[in-house]
């Protein structure tokens, strides 16, 4: 079936109703920048030194995004946090 969203669909889906996507929304790769700022991700290569928390705040400041959060803390050499 055509989905208009490209090849993102997982295989083996069960179809309840065969419908085409309408004009609303954006496929992830064509999402406008302002929306990416509001729910995107930066896959950062954490530098050594600052904590994950500090680096996360820096990224927020660089992008001008207030709400930021990281997944899975990479501890500094001092504190120990589960990974």
């Amino acid at each position: 079936m055509k989905t208009g969203g490209g090849s993102w669909l997982p295989s083996g889906l069960l179809v309840r109703e065969d419908v085409e996507p309408g004009p609303h929304g954006f496929p992830p790769d064509r999402r406008p920048l302002d929306l990416l700022m509001r729910y995107g991700v930066v896959k950062l290569d954490k530098p050594s030194g600052p904590t994950s928390h500090t680096v996360t705040r820096w990224v927020g400041r660089i992008l001008g995004v207030r709400r930021v959060g990281h997944c899975g803390t990479l501890a500094t050499s001092v504190g120990e946090i589960p990974r």
């Binding site: 930066v42 290569d45 930021v68 997944c71 500094t76 589960p82």
Partner: protein, 263 residues
């Protein structure tokens, strides 16, 4: 410590626990306090593969109960000389790598410690896709000063890229907006779904274009949803899509679908 650190922006922060995933991969340097040959280290290292007991260290974010964590892989990549060894390991979330290295040293009888650590994978995210802070700063500068989006779009990625494979329900366009308002997802709002949807499981809600709407708890099996004429397929738990992107398809002030003022 360096390496993979996924940073979620705005509403995507609500999905942090799903991005973290089950396992993480690390490459680190183990320093042994006396000389041990590689073969002996490898033999001991192999004993740490599987479930291990760990007590969280004194300085830790969680309660210090003894707990079981799984080590999926542990191998000696290279003998670096001077009692330093390069180790690669794949561990369950919540395992302390520093403690693991320390314990290997203890079992060897010479003592050991972790000297460097780099996280090379978190869930789906590998080292190759990473952005440095410098690259991010540069991309933002080009965008602000020249209005060119290209380089910023390379580093600021859709959250869909970092979500693991999980049971999925694909919504019809007409159902999206009501879910962003907190309404339950009715079976009539479902276009497709993966066969692994069963009552009680956490499912990803996506649009026909592939956008993640949020995460919900399924209330029916996949077959049930396909066959039923009415009923609730899933209850939204964390919605990240903003309101107003998809059209509102219901009448009135909205009171039929959600409590006004609950926003």
């Amino acid at each position: 410590m360096t390496g993979v650190l996924p940073i979620l922006l705005g509403r995507a922060t609500r999905l942090a626990e799903f991005v973290s995933g089950e396992s993480k991969e690390y490459v680190g340097v183990l320093y042994l306090h006396d000389s041990v040959d590689r073969g002996e280290l490898e033999e001991i290292a192999s004993e740490f593969v599987g479930p291990i007991y760990q007590r969280p260290p004194v300085k830790s974010a969680v309660s210090r109960r003894l707990r079981v964590r799984r080590v999926f892989e542990l191998e000696v990549l290279e003998e670096l000389g001077g009692q330093y060894f390069l180790i690669r390991t794949v561990i369950e979330a919540g395992t302390y790598v520093r403690k693991l290295f320390y314990d290997i040293g203890e079992v060897l009888g010479v003592g050991g410690s972790m000297r460097e650590l780099r996280r090379v994978r978190v869930g789906k995210i590998g080292e190759r896709e990473l952005t440095t802070l410098q690259e991010l700063v540069k991309a933002v500068k080009i965008w602000r000063e020249k209005g060119e989006e290209g380089s910023l779009r390379e580093v600021l990625r859709p959250v869909e890229e970092v979500l693991p494979d999980m049971p999925t329900i694909i919504l019809k366009d007409t159902a999206v907006e009501s879910v962003t308002h907190g309404a339950s997802l009715k079976v009539r709002g479902v276009a497709m779904l993966s066969p692994d949807v069963t009552p009680g499981v956490t499912v990803l809600l996506r649009t026909l274009k592939g956008e993640v709407v949020g995460v919900a708890r399924a209330t029916m099996s996949a077959e049930g949803v396909v066959e039923a004429d009415s009923g609730v397929a899933a209850l939204p738990e964390r919605i990240i899509m903003e309101r107003g992107i998809y059209p509102k398809t219901w009448q009135g002030s909205g009171g039929r679908f959600y409590n006004e003022g609950s926003q």
